[in-house]
Amino acid sequence: MRFGKIMLSVVMSVMFVSLLFVTAGAAGKEPIKIGAILSVTGPASFLGEPEKNTLVMLQDQINKAGGIRGANLQVIIEDSKSDETQAVLAAKKLLEKDNVVAIVGPSTTGESMALVPIMNAAKTPLVSCAAGAPITNPVSEREWIFKTPQYDTSAVEAIYTYMKKHGITKVGIITIATGFGDAGKKALHEIAPKMGMTIVAEEKYGPKDSDMTTQLTKIKAAGAQAVINWSVGPGQVVVTKNWHDLKMGIPLYQSHGWGSKKNIELAGKAAEGVIAPLGRLVVWDKLSDKHPQKALLKKFESDYKALYKSEPGTFGGHAYDSLMMVVEAIKKVGPDKKKIRDYLETGITKMPGTGGVYTMSAKDHCGLDAGAFEMVVVKNGDWEILK
């Protein structure tokens, strides 16, 4: 019992100390505060991790270069644990305790959707790092919401266009049973009739599944001319290995989630010949020097690699674009919520980012042109742009 008493007090004091931490946070000389809500942990941490790294790196770079309008930039990052409830709480905290002028993120479509009513009510701009179309559409009801990632349909269009050129019209799709895979599945279905493609088989798997040969066997039996796998995380490597083992004789296409060298390492030989639509971030060294994105991509990727010994990937790029857009706005109009929002809508024209070249408008709060993707194949353990 005495031990129990001691421990009780230990537990209590830990709680109490953490409470002190919370209240002792703020103070100092007026930095410009931008909030970020990212899935740093939880099932979507493959997004939140590079996004968080990117924001931390950019904050340091900007402050070393003198900050914004003479003030330091402070990016307050909150972990949403890949959970909508936590995202809502984080948003309230950032808006009220930290008085941020804008929020970057969240990482997933679901969490972004959960924040729409909150941001509209708080009249604070949100630049989401998630791709789902309903985040910014309809724009009339999403006045304060923007996003930087390409629509999934753009990636699908890139794949279908390339397929058509090579005479493929019947595809089998296999998607991960999460929001990411589901959004891909919807996009694949939506664009198919317009592009004259037929989806002959549609399969799914769980994010932690260890074997997908059953699904791939079914796709092949359905007479598909190609497989499209829409997923992120270990699943895409397992699919690649299974595809290789089965010697399916039809090409494997991956989503834009494929864009990390890590995947090639993990899949080894099996990755050879896998095709995917990737943002230019992973293939910047293969772009011509005149390309508007090249200089920016080169700097971002090499800085990130030097700092974190890993790649930022497409998703780190989303955070880059979201933050830089807000920073650009603050530079021009100052830290005022309404002015930032207006600038994001009208001022962002032909702005190069990692995801493409952005032009926002009152009708389009994403502002990416088609053609943000390059079709890239894995060859000799490296990326190669397909013409």
Binding site: T41, P43, S45, F46, E49, I174, A177, E203, K204, Y205, G206, K208, D209, S210, D211, M212, T213, T214, Q215, T217, K218, A221, G233, P234, V237, V238, D245, L246, K247, K262, L266
Partner: protein
């Protein structure tokens, strides 16, 4: 058509072997303590990630890495038992199970710090093309996993039937109070069951990582599936868990193959529930034994 069926079957075997190994670990602890150890999945993750660490980062030879990994996992099992289960000294099984959940959260946190969130993998035990049987392919590593599962069954059988410690553990499984009365050191039995079960989990992790990759948060899914395997075979029945694991793996694969892949988890669960309702002791458990159980 047969080739396709065979391929589904092989896929089921691959997945099932993973579940079977996890299910076996559950039974070891359950048998001597009646605790359902919800951190069992983390032992498997430790197996995969530590193996990667020893063989890919420290660059130790394969066998040495494997042995170190299994020992390290056993040590984690020991720590867990000594610091959480033993001090608790409680008869409240629910509380014990909640503690294992809390420990699993803690372990996941630690693993995340050491290894980050990326998936890891290393080369399969034997390089080379997958085997082709009547047009269907099976990875060599799958055969390894099945072989290792079989070895574990044999070794555990020998341990439980031929050694004093093993017999003592079985005695505890039947009646802890009686075991105490005949002079068995129950506390040691519980400790060893945690070590053993962590080791079996780690062996599973080492074997399956080349197939399914391993990342810090794979534990809960493995635990749930392994738990289902153990339930299906009859909790406490070592071999039952293995057969239960393969049964669930094959069920999932056949559902994915002949119904729809989106339904595979649900169908497997529905069948598991149906079995439970009609044969409460699991496929291989005895009804009389199951009535004696507290949980």
């Amino acid at each position: 058509m047969f080739t396709v069926f065979l391929q589904f079957l092989f896929s089921g075997l691959t997945v099932g072997a993973v579940y079977a190994l996890v299910g076996m670990g559950f039974n070891i602890i359950y048998n001597s303590t009646s605790i359902i150890n919800m951190a069992q999945g983390e032992f498997v993750v430790i197996g995969g990630l530590f193996m990667w660490f020893f063989s890919e980062t420290v660059k130790l030879p394969f066998f040495l890495s494997a042995i170190l990994t299994v020992l390290a996992a056993g040590f984690v099992g020991l720590l867990m038992e000594r610091f959480t289960i033993k001090p608790l000294k409680s008869n409240d099984l629910l509380l014990m199970i909640m503690v294992t959940i809390a420990v699993s959260i803690l372990m996941r946190g630690l693993l995340m710090f050491k290894f980050g969130k990326d998936p890891y993998s290393y080369a399969p035990f034997t390089e080379g093309e997958p085997l082709n049987i009547a047009g269907a392919v099976i990875q060599q590593q799958t055969l390894w996993v099945i072989g290792i599962t079989a070895c574990c069954i044999v070794l555990l059988f020998l341990f439980f039937n031929r050694t004093m410690m093993g017999k003592a553990m079985r005695a505890c499984a039947v009646d802890t109070t009686a075991a105490k009365l005949v002079g068995i050191n129950v506390s040691r039995v519980v400790m060893i069951s945690f070590i053993l079960s962590a080791m079996v989990g780690a062996i599973g992790g080492i074997a399956i990582t080349p197939i399914s990759l391993m990342e810090y948060d794979k534990g809960p899914m493995l635990a749930v599936k392994g738990f289902c395997a153990a339930i299906m075979g009859g909790l406490g029945r070592g071999r039952g868990a293995v057969i239960g694991g393969f049964a669930i793996g094959i069920l999932e694969s056949m559902t994915a193959g002949y119904i729809h892949s989106g339904m595979k988890d649900a169908v497997a669960l529905v069948i598991m529930l149906a079995i439970l309702f009609f044969r409460p002791a699991g496929l291989f458990g005895s009804v009389a034994m199951s009535k004696l159980r507290k949980f």
